[in-house]
Amino acid sequence: MGIAAPLWTALLTGMTVPTQAQENAPVTLANGLRVLSRERRATPLVAIDLWVRAGAREEAPDEAGSAHFLEHTLFKSTPTRRAGQADWDIENLGGTLNASTGPDYAHFYVTVATPNVSRALSILADVIQNALLPDAQVERERSVILDELAEHVADPAARVVDLLYAGAFPSRLYGRSPGGSPDAIRLRGRDTLAAFYRRTYQPTRCTLVLVGDLSAAQARQWAQETFGVWQPPARPQSNLPQPRISTRPDAPVPADAMVPAPSGTTDAVENPKPKTQNQDSPVRHQPVYAATPEAAVAAPVPLLPAQHITLAVPASRPALGVGLPAPPASAVRMTAAAMLVGEILGGLGRGGRLDVSALAHTDAQARFTPRHDDSLWIVTASVPRDSSGDRTNNTGTASKRRALVTGQAESNTAADTTQHTQEEQTRRLEAVLRNILARLGSSPPAPLEMQSAQRRLMARMDAETETNEGLAAAVGYADITGGDTPQALRQRIQQTTPADVRQFVTRYLLSQTGVTVILQTAAAGAGPGQ
């Protein structure tokens, strides 16, 4: 079917209506699959996002790596599609079928023109519901995943984040990299993948998000036609504890809920008690305890083991990562404060305290992605590259700043990069960072700084959700992790006060030393242009 005609016609006609997304009420199909939709008519495109509670956290110890492995292998073939056919069919509709795996989820997504949505949904439904996982294809994909992991560990920033989580949560599920380790991937067999698939890929564990040129009624109809026929298994396939399933605060609470939510609350408790799903009752999402914001704040902060991890890797510059405890996604007030603190610090030229500190030119940035349970608030930085050009007056300002951070005289050359020196350099970066955090904790940000950070953060969120795919991802991620919807988060950020910021910093960032990771260069290498 040709897609050119409707697409280029739509491009010619341009915009017709405002592009604010209309948030529709969530729908749960009879088989338990949850459907969220946002109507946004700016372009004749629809983003299709499927979020499955089949992330790395669902893996038993002898299943490590299965979530990621399965995400790769699902596309291979179904009873009606040979290997590669699903990709071919989707791309013939003008889209690309992509996927990712995280600690809390497996995520599948594609964007297509409006006339092709139903067909794209049926292709995705086939892949998700009917994957065959043939042995030969599993073996080929094993090599591909190992190639991917080689690329992943080659990225110092990704390596730092993995090590921070491993150090912070050594005996808990978030301590494992969602991609799996090479050793784990080598060990996983087809039968293990199939068992994981049967257990975790069920409609009750899925949220389908549709964003773009469609109405709520169309979203429901298409979801029903393609995913509504999917039946959950009669009994659980393993004796593993059932995962916690949290509802969104705006979802209707069943009349026979075991724990009624206090009226007027908007926050879910930080550490909800787990609930087992009653297999004999109608399929539904079980509610979690709801608590007042004050109760949420009073819940204990997770205690991280104070750790210092040093590793030598092939890289051009030493890198530093500091991980401190942070609230889970459901603690929405503190999560918003955590995000704002990240923006107040800024980094990478975004404007913020890092950019005007001795950490400028270190690629320093604060990162915070709230997870369903254990989150980390992270800052990463790299020791500035010591270019020989810094000896000239033309780069006086930059080299002075580097010298302050690295403790090196301006005339030092790249040859002076022993591991002892690298340790000193990264320790200095850490000291500067902790000093910045201490100042933030002792006095809240000024109103102007606060407003600027709020504006920047909301603008960044707007940019990330400008595409239908970006908005669908934000909606789906919030649903999976129990956080605010993008719209609610926006409001909450606007309502966050300097006192909230200070409370977050003192409660989470200054209460512990956290985990520190230092990546040293295994060999001092030349840079570009030398």
Binding site: L11, T13, G94
Partner: protein, 456 residues
């Protein structure tokens, strides 16, 4: 149309401009089914062109400012051009450095500079309420950039840091290395350091003028007001510049003459980590060449999406490679680059034994995929998928307001006219099998390759 100078009463100028704009709007295309005009063009009094696409989106506007330049052959001049492009908005006689960056970031906007052999482009996305300030800043810098030492220093640092980031990424390191094989290399850090303020100012005065300037605006704004603003702000932007020659028929220019042979050996470089990469670059048409749409389809046959040849043959059939595909960044005047990343230390199953995937195997594989297109091998099904996929990519490329303004400005600056943006999907849909095979023969025979291997 000769417009009065600043000495003329401003009200008369504004009235004339308003009438001019309204006439332009009336002549512009509109869709009978909507109240929103399609993009249209206005020529400002100074000669610069304004492309306007007002949209009913909430609160944001994107301004893409293009200055058409020509490639600089001499390395020293190339360094001057690179610094001038980067330092253009880092201060002028009236403002301190980082004025626009501060404005963009503090108000939650974004700011990007792109310097290619064909143009310099800066794209600012900002809240609509900030549009007058952004327009004033951009205009001020276009007229009065003075390239003070601190501005040059800032630009130099940014260039070096960006190159370092790319060098630290294996795929980008290989990409830059293989592109340099088919076109003049980037200026060295030494050359950048030697650029003086006087050199920068001289280059700027000779190359940056209204005849070469295109400003594209997309988003939520009042078109008449934007036109009035830019006309007023650029009223004394009267620098005379020589016309720019049409873009070369192919991307790679002189280097093509030195590389007119099928690739037999890849240059070996050190990988920054344990991952290995192989990249092959081929000649490619400029966006202004009639072969452009067919070449876009060819790129997608070869390396676009997961059903492309490279992905299917490498990952699906052989189980080799994670990042694999083909890039064709015509907006950067880059060649076509086919690439594959793999773990060179991994032993894979091959028949009855496990063996490491040799770099030579990967080189042969990439060559065979390029050769396949030279040998008339292309089914109608493959062609249809690649065409539909390319059209889908174009549609998704228009989701962001910054891309909408960029594309309009790019096509206009390159001489295609902003209407090419709406025409391109039609042209892609019209590409035939013969077109693809013809451009394959024209461009793919000229190749260069690099392979990056981890040190043992």
């Amino acid at each position: 149309m000769n417009m009065p100078t600043l000495n003329f009463p401003a009200r008369f100028c504004n009235t004339l401009l308003f009438l001019f704009v309204m006439a332009g709007a009336a002549m512009g295309r509109t869709d009978a089914q909507t109240a929103i005009p399609l993009p249209y063009s206005v020529r400002l009094p100074d000669g610069a062109r304004l492309i306007l696409r007002p949209e009913a989106i909430t609160g944001r506007v994107s301004i893409s400012l293009f200055v058409r330049i020509e490639p600089d052959a001499a390395p020293s001049l190339k360094a001057v051009g690179e610094l001038v492009a980067r330092a253009l908005f880092y201060g002028n006689r009236d403002r301190t450095a980082n004025g626009i960056i501060t404005l963009a970031t503090q108000t939650g906007g974004s700011y990007d500079v792109l310097h290619t052999p064909d143009y310099v482009a800066v794209t600012v996305v900002a809240p609509s309420s900030q549009l007058p300030e952004v327009a004033h800043l951009l205009s001020d810098c276009l007229k009065n950039a003075d390239f003070a030492p601190i501005a040059l220093d800032h630009a130099r640092t940014e260039i070096v840091e960006e190159r370092t980031r790319r060098y630290d990424d294996g795929l980008m390191r290989g990409y830059d290395a293989v592109c340099e094989t088919l076109r003049p290399p980037a200026s060295s850090e030494d050359a950048l350091r030697r650029v003086t303020q006087a050199q920068a100012q001289d280059y700027f005065r000779r190359r940056y003028g209204p005849a070469r300037t295109v400003i594209a605006v997309a988003g939520s704004f009042d078109a008449a007001r934007v036109t009035t603003l830019f006309a007023a702000f650029l009223a004394d932007y009267t620098r005379h510049t020589s016309p720019v020659a049409a873009a070369q028929a192919n991307q790679t220019g002189e280097a093509v003459a030195n590389a007119k042979q099928a690739l037999t050996a890849y240059r070996v470089l050190a990988a920054p980590s344990t991952s290995a990469y192989a990249l092959a670059a081929t000649d490619a048409p400029a966006v202004t060449h009639p072969d452009y749409p067919a070449f876009v389809v060819l790129q997608n046959v070869l390396g676009g999406g997961h059903a492309c040849r490279l992905f299917q043959q490498a990952r699906e059939e052989r189980g080799v490679g994670y990042k694999v595909g083909a890039l064709y960044q015509a907006d950067r005047a880059d060649p076509l680059v086919a690439y594959l990343q793999w773990d060179a230390t991994l032993k894979r199953n091959a028949a009855d034994r496990q063996t490491r995937t040799d770099a030579k195997d990967i080189q042969l594989f990439l060559n065979s995929q390029l050769d396949g297109l030279l040998q008339n091998s292309l089914s109608e099904e493959e062609l249809t998928r690649a065409r539909n996929f390319a059209i889908g990519v174009e549609a998704r490329r228009h989701e962001r307001v910054r891309d909408r303004s960029f594309l309009l400005g790019w096509y206009e600056a390159m001489g295609l006219g902003y209407v090419f943006d709406a025409d391109l999907p039609k042209r892609l849909a019209a590409v035939t099998r013969d077109d693809v095979l013809r451009v394959a023969k024209t461009y793919l025979a000229t190749r260069a390759g690099v392979v990056l291997l981890p040190s043992r």
